[in-house]
């Protein structure tokens, strides 16, 4: 008996929190021994290994039993799961769209189109996987630290957004705080990248890319717009209601962004190769990067036009 029970408890102990390990194991050992002794009394003989094994199975697999003693029972709890799922979906949708666009560009422009497209697909897949892992880790850390999103506790039904795709009948005056948090995060990342306090892995398809000096005239306008946007978003976060001045301000800012996107689109050579690591045809890679940049600018301009049009409609309705 002892060998099998010891083996079971040894496995269990290896999974238990160190401070409670001996205590829990001693208690379970006593419980198992009591159960075995009672069964042996009933049957008038010692239990076979098979019967003992069956009894231990009733206690549960050591991994399951140990899991019940751990303070943390889940990676992301129900309090934050919905928000986690929302953010994860948003991130993956954006990455899928960007990956699809890059693949399309590679297919249309690369001499070895299939190979380039597969390479872009693999890189996009890894980036999406990393992004999903980072989002998951961030929410697991929030949940572990018992962090709570105060706006989830103090929600006002009038402010609840219609979700990522929206539904008919959503109130016009409400600003979703989840959307605002997302916008603050993206604007913040853009700002930090723009002032070079944040660097992304710059190697792409075997070359290191960087923005060229051609973007210099755009430096201060983008910087100023980012700062004003962050202030505006901060106000939105504190007071999630639309007012005429705030909608008008967003409209003006969107028009300014649109002007910058058009200027950037018309600027030749936005990116350049800083270093060729292993690309056989760096000029071609540069061509893909520049085309990608132009497509991104077109997408951003279209999004900005849509947002501006929405604001115009809101102001007219008002």
């Amino acid at each position: 008996m002892n060998t099998l029970v010891d083996h079971y408890l040894l496995h269990l102990k290896s999974l238990l929190p160190a401070k409670q390990r001996e205590d829990i194991a001693a208690e379970l050992r006593d419980s198992i021994r009591s159960a075995v002794e009672e069964r042996e009394r009933e049957q008038g003989r010692a239990l076979t290994d098979a019967e003992l094994n069956e009894m231990l199975r009733g206690f549960g697999h050591p991994i399951v039993v140990a899991g019940r003693y751990l303070p943390m029972q889940h990676l992301i709890g129900p309090d934050v799961f919905a928000l986690y799922w929302y953010v994860l979906q948003a991130v993956l949708i954006v990455m899928t769209v960007v990956g699809g666009l890059l693949m399309g560009i590679a297919l249309l422009t690369a001499p070895n189109a299939m190979q380039a497209a597969v390479q872009v697909a693999i890189e996009s897949w890894w980036m999406a996987l990393h992004a999903a892992a980072l989002v998951t880790l961030a929410f697991a850390a929030l949940d572990y630290g018992k962090a709570r999103f105060s706006f989830l506790d103090k929600f006002d039904a009038r402010n609840v957004s219609a979700g990522i795709l929206g539904v008919r009948g959503a109130p016009l005056s409400a600003i979703s705080r989840a959307d605002t948090v997302f916008e603050i995060a993206t604007t913040g990342i853009l700002l930090l990248w723009w002032v070079e306090w944040l660097a992304f892995p710059s190697e792409w398809l075997g070359v290191v890319l960087r923005l060229s000096d051609a973007v210099e005239p755009l430096f201060y306008p983008v910087l100023a717009l980012c700062i004003v946007e962050l202030v505006r978003l901060g106000v939105d976060l504190a007071h999630p209601y639309r007012t005429v001045p705030r909608v008008a301000l967003r409209l003006v800012l969107n028009l300014a962004w649109l002007a910058l996107f058009v200027l950037a689109y018309r600027t030749e050579g936005l990116v350049e190769i800083a270093q060729n690591i292993r690309a056989e045809n760096p000029e071609h890679i540069l061509g893909i990067a520049q085309a990608s940049m132009r497509v991104t600018l077109v997408v951003l301009a279209l999004v900005t036009v849509t947002l501006a049009a929405t604001d115009v409609v809101r102001l007219v309705r008002r």
């Binding site: 001693a26 006593d30 419980s31 009591s34 159960a35 206690f59 399951v64 003693y69």
Partner: protein
């Protein structure tokens, strides 16, 4: 699938009631094994893998006290309801009776 569903719903239904049953049974002192037997005798089966972590959790919440003591030439951990546990149990039983009454009216 219907069997899985009923198991899941049964588990949800039992989860809260097990805590009340364990607290109520520990108005008198027990160690894990005798507690489980006593509950089973009264019609409430609870497996060891659920009972022992539950006892730890209730103790860490201050609702139970425990001590290691020798009985039948073996060291055993005895549990008993604490003063705070008595207060909480009374509140939980009031809640349980109210729920039970409401459910009786509904069904």
């Amino acid at each position: 699938m219907p069997s899985d569903l009923i198991d899941k719903l049964r588990l949800e239904l039992r989860r809260g009631t097990l805590t009340v049953a364990v607290l109520a049974q520990l108005r008198s002192e027990h160690y894990g094994y005798t507690l489980r037997k006593a509950l089973a005798k009264l019609g409430l089966d609870i497996d060891e893998g659920t009972l022992y972590p539950l006892l730890r959790r209730l103790e860490s919440q201050g609702l139970l006290t425990s001590e290691w003591r020798e009985e039948d030439k073996r060291e055993k951990r005895f549990y008993r309801l604490s003063a705070e546990g008595r207060t909480i149990l009374k509140q939980l039983l009031d809640e349980w009776r109210a729920l039970n009454g409401a459910l009786d009216n509904i069904v």
